[in-house]
């Protein structure tokens, strides 16, 4: 399995009601102490921590991040179609993916309204100078999109989660598509590892996004 260091969550973000009834069942402090050391249960003891609970404000923050991600995808595909000498299947992929990412940008901008973040500038360097370099960048960027959306799934309100879910699978299709074009294994992992927001931002910067 390819490694991308997962930020194994400390937060088990169960709803307060569920979590407190679990605490009641737990019993003795000794038992709680025993269980507390286990990663899976560690988050149960941060019940008072409201930071990070889903909210409309948090949804907006997350959508600002994914908007930057979608902007980056649009820019990569636009510039590669212009400069990377793409043809055949790879060109057809870039054209189709660009159309999808533009729709994503439009939808997220519409949802954020006047608060939608502005488009960053980009310096993709050698990534858009050749078909193979572009192909690798596309894989990285689409994988980042999948990991980024997946990483925020538990931070979103249910309505926004439903909306995000309609996008993340399309990014995953893109990733498999562009791998398959080169005869690579299109789905090398049994499960997709999430990225934190910080990891996504870092990945975007590494790929060529420059914030204003």
């Amino acid at each position: 399995m390819r490694l991308r260091s997962p930020e194994v969550g400390l937060g088990e973000h169960d709803s307060p009601g569920e979590a407190s009834s679990r605490r009641a069942v737990l019993g003795t402090a000794a038992l709680a102490g025993l269980v507390a050391g286990l990663p899976f249960f560690r988050g149960l003891f941060r019940l008072g921590d409201a930071l990070g609970s889903p909210s409309k404000a948090q949804d907006a923050k997350i959508l600002q991040l994914v908007l930057q991600l979608e902007y980056t995808q649009v820019a990569l595909y636009e510039q590669a179609l212009d400069q990377a000498g793409l043809d055949g299947e790879l060109r057809a992929f870039a054209e189709a993916a660009l159309a999808h990412e533009r729709e994503h940008v439009a939808a997220i901008r519409k949802a954020l309204g006047a608060n939608a973040g502005s488009k960053p500038t980009f310096d993709f360097g050698s990534r858009i100078k050749s078909a193979e370099a572009f192909r690798q960048a596309a894989i990285d960027l689409e994988d980042t999109a999948v990991a980024g959306y997946n990483g925020q799934a538990t931070n979103l309100t249910k309505a926004t989660l439903g909306a995000a879910a309609t996008i993340v699978s399309v990014e995953a299709r893109h990733a498999a598509w562009v791998r398959a074009i080169a005869g690579e294994v299109a789905a090398p992992d049994a499960v997709d590892t999430p990225m934190t927001a910080e990891q996504v931002a870092r990945s975007l910067r590494e790929l060529g996004m420059r914030t204003q």
Binding site: G9, G11, E12, H13, D14, S15, E18, S21, R22, V25, L26, G27, L31, L34, V35, L38, F40, G88, E89, A92, A96, A97, A99, H100, E101, E103, H104, A107, V146, Y149, N150, A153, T154, K158, L161, G162, A165, T166, I167, V168, S169, V170, E171, A172, R173, H174, A175, A176, W177, A180, G183, V185, A186, A187, P188, D189, A190, V191, D192, P194
Partner: protein, 233 residues
């Protein structure tokens, strides 16, 4: 390959519902209105804490999440059995044969993970009769496309209903993998891997209807009897 058809042309290339219904209709054990297998999931037992294994961690899940996990497990059983039987049939060749090895191994790993988590509450593996679809490459790919698209829609439909964040984290990590599979099978079949900018969810009722229409889930053949033997002795 000379490019991919425009997205609305793909609909004539593969009509998803028709592809799954194409397999011969048959009389078979009725599927209850309750769902894919007519399973009634009884109330989950009392939450017990103090255990440490992953499998026992499943004991702390809300009953509705257990129900969703079992529903996903049935779809994973379907896919795992489908790919495994196709690989064993010897009917596949080339890139398709290679892809099926990887995807089959992945779906089997999914099944194993769900079963380990759910323990005694896991639904049993159904019996599948794929009616030859695993034994011819084109019908196989057409159905694989349909199954993977279906799995993506199913996970997407359930994700907002999941109550436990640990279950949700698991579900989204698998949902995107199924989407990669869907794109892969489409690419092998020769249609566009990603048709629309937004993939739609599907309700359980819709998924159940589609799976039932394939008649792939059948009764297990009963090979035991109490008849008096009339062998030569």
């Amino acid at each position: 390959m000379n490019g991919f058809p425009h997205f609305d042309q793909f609909l004539t290339a593969v009509d998803r519902d028709a592809a799954l219904a194409e397999t011969s209709s048959r009389a078979e054990a009725a599927l209850s209105r309750r769902g894919l297998l007519g399973i009634t999931l009884g109330a989950v037992g009392a939450i017990v804490f103090g255990k440490t294994s992953v499998a026992e961690a499943g004991a702390g899940l809300p009953a509705s999440d257990v129900d969703i996990l079992n529903y996903a497990l049935v779809l994973e059983y379907l896919q795992a059995s489908f790919y495994t039987e196709a690989e064993r049939s010897g009917a596949l060749s080339g890139a398709t044969a290679q892809a099926v090895k990887v995807v089959g191994a992945t779906e089997r790993a999914h099944v194993k993970a769900f079963r380990e988590l759910l323990g005694s509450r896991a639904v049993a593996r159904p019996t599948f009769d794929f009616q030859g679809v695993t034994e011819q490459q084109r019908p196989f790919l057409r159905t694989a496309v349909a199954f993977e698209d279906l799995a993506v829609e199913a996970y997407k439909g359930q994700a907002p209903k999941v109550r436990s964040n640990a279950v949700l984290a698991a579900a989204v990590g698998i949902h995107s993998v199924e989407a990669r599979h869907a794109a892969w099978m489409r690419e092998l079949f020769g249609i566009t891997p990603a048709v629309n900018a937004f993939d739609r969810p599907a309700s359980r009722a819709k998924i159940n209807r589609i799976v039932a229409s394939t008649h792939f889930i059948v009764s297990r053949p009963r090979m035991k009897a109490r008849n008096k033997p009339h062998f030569t002795g």
